[in-house]
Symmetry: C2
Subunit: 441 residues, 2 copies
Amino acid sequence: MLITPRTLSGFKDCLPQEAMAKKNLLQKVSEVFLKFGFVPIETPHLEYAEVLVKQGSDEIQKELYRFKDKGDRDVALRFDLTVPLARFIAQYQNQLQLPFKRFAIGNVFRGERAQKGRYREFTQCDFDFIGSDSLSCDAEILQVIYASLVNLDIDEFSIRINHRKILNGICKHFGITQPQDVNATLRIIDKLDKIGEEGVLAELDSELGIKEQQAKEILQYVSIKQNGSSEEFFASIAHLKQWNDELKEGIEDIERLYEILKPLQMDKDCYRVHFCIARGLGYYTGIVYETILTQIPSIGSVCSGGRYDNLTTTFSKQKMSGVGASIGVDRLLAAMKELKLLEGKSTSARALLVCMSEEYMAYAHTLAESFRRSDIAIEIYPDIVKLKKPFSYANTLGHEFVLVIGESEFKAKSITLKNMTSGMQLEDISFLKTLEILKQN
Amino acid sequence: MLITPRTLSGFKDCLPQEAMAKKNLLQKVSEVFLKFGFVPIETPHLEYAEVLVKQGSDEIQKELYRFKDKGDRDVALRFDLTVPLARFIAQYQNQLQLPFKRFAIGNVFRGERAQKGRYREFTQCDFDFIGSDSLSCDAEILQVIYASLVNLDIDEFSIRINHRKILNGICKHFGITQPQDVNATLRIIDKLDKIGEEGVLAELDSELGIKEQQAKEILQYVSIKQNGSSEEFFASIAHLKQWNDELKEGIEDIERLYEILKPLQMDKDCYRVHFCIARGLGYYTGIVYETILTQIPSIGSVCSGGRYDNLTTTFSKQKMSGVGASIGVDRLLAAMKELKLLEGKSTSARALLVCMSEEYMAYAHTLAESFRRSDIAIEIYPDIVKLKKPFSYANTLGHEFVLVIGESEFKAKSITLKNMTSGMQLEDISFLKTLEILKQN
């Protein structure tokens, strides 16, 4: 009986076009990580469930792929790369040098209800700077976000910066001081885009008893953002530093961050303070980031992160502070597709080499070898068939050129070249002439 | 209560040094794949168990990580990349262009008994050429193996070539014709290194009733290998073609393979015919390969593969022929470590930049940015501490240079450079002079 070839609901294959784009994206961001001294680590896809579960929210526990292995161990597939990082740091703390800068690229698993564009297995790409409180780290995380996007040829983006202490300070000023109330307030405010101002005001009242006028004031402060230069902006919010220590510390951290960033050759319009950015509520404790592509803001943040103090609390009494961010690989790929920054090809080869007789195959292989030695990716069509088939193959996959070896080419040790885009055809040209064309275009 | 940070038995973490070496290895072989027109695909780590199980051997079934997911589906973690490839080809046969050249790099899971050097999660790296019978494909697989090793700076290796029809033909000549008997014979002969000639002769007798004299003759033919030039070798075995069609076809395929390979700029000592190579017994049907590193043959084959006819039989009545090979990532890494081809560093950065006061941090970041723009990977030590600590950090991780910014350097906009290997120190030198040194060494 034949088995129906199919993937599980919520899981998907990457066909070559997508897989190449993804590989290329991850390669380009890895280059940036390495240039800043972030090094890769790998952790297993499968862990003891207790290692993963304690730190995850209830939501995560429901979504966990958890089972008993053959040794009756309670195991689970990782649902993110942060909990394994915490486990890793705690486990190797005597071997690792602090500060520890790592990046990790890997798949994670969440059995959430299947919905469009959301998958149960997806790729995360995290970079973190562990074990230092210095704002130099926060500045570097922002530089890595910036450099990663630039390396992907994305230039219209806005990194939105905020500080948890600023949000805490605003809440405190309005009498909201209990952490759970602060979190509830920010969670409700975060729905502004979804449920509108009226909805937010209603929820703040019903859930937290914050009355309309006070709620409106909070909303007004939380919507403060930097529009012009940083000097003007910091001057305009200087008075907030007097409200309380949280606001003072939060604003001064961002001011120091800007002192590091300002002399750099980064476009100053690409990073801006937005008091509305909350990110991961309970988790982050310092500066936080979100990155919006200004041409398609609706896609949401493509790179988010921030500073935290509580990484290893599940495993160790020692406090471990860090700052990091995560690139939304799938979202970024979707965005790049929409921005036409991806090549729509299903081949890595620039040219397809076609042989019209078995007799010329050895010659074709020597030609292909010479092209590859000159750094041209080239593919040989392996079968001896009518030309229609390899041409259709090249057309579908996206080869830019087809090189044909027939009898006359074989005898003259030449090549006939066809440009698949323009249709231009050059007959019986030399290897060097062909190489020149393949290199040029 | 704190959770003990630990990995599951048989699972392991890759620390930066190993993870960097692995990343580099996979990057270099991927470059080669892409240059030959092999494109990446990705399939999920988790599949319907029925998709994975039918094609796997009993051994594999016992080792499968299999469980019920929350939707009560019978699911399992993949144990190789070949079965998912078969499922992929069958599932997308109407979308894919044949021949289909794909590579896949990913982790697979086998719950085998934990033993030294064997892990329950490990990385596979496969490349296959599906849907063509042409020997051009077989020749290309061999070229990819060759080019991959050369790209990893490995030059002393031997790709051993054989053909299943040659082994079948030798067996046939000695009256062994049933496939299961042929397989049993080859499996026993494969133990030659382990149990010696006497052991093999004893087992051939007890299991298959092959008497000593005949067994010795079989052994003699199976140990034929190419020592000198291919011309001499093929002349010396020409008479075997008359024994039967299997031998004739097998030898002629290899002769044609050599016709394609001979004109190429590949070292002819690096590929040789060995009649003893069997590989995957039941699975392969044509030319097979094994790759031995001649300086450390004991490590076994680092890249193996061959031609098969039965890829998609679980999913489709359509026969699908292919030829491919798999790089033993862990084995190759271990070999490269032994051959001292790996850098023993735990950092990607060439230099560590150290600031002696918070005040100079912005200057340090502008310097680091300039180095990175000149393609030098550089890391900033984020904390302001006594110099001993960052120097020890650089020493342990393997930075080649430490650049120090103290008061005089900050004022003069200069740098003090220390070469961590030679101990050479240059004080108050310019950015350009520093760049020159970092580029040179």
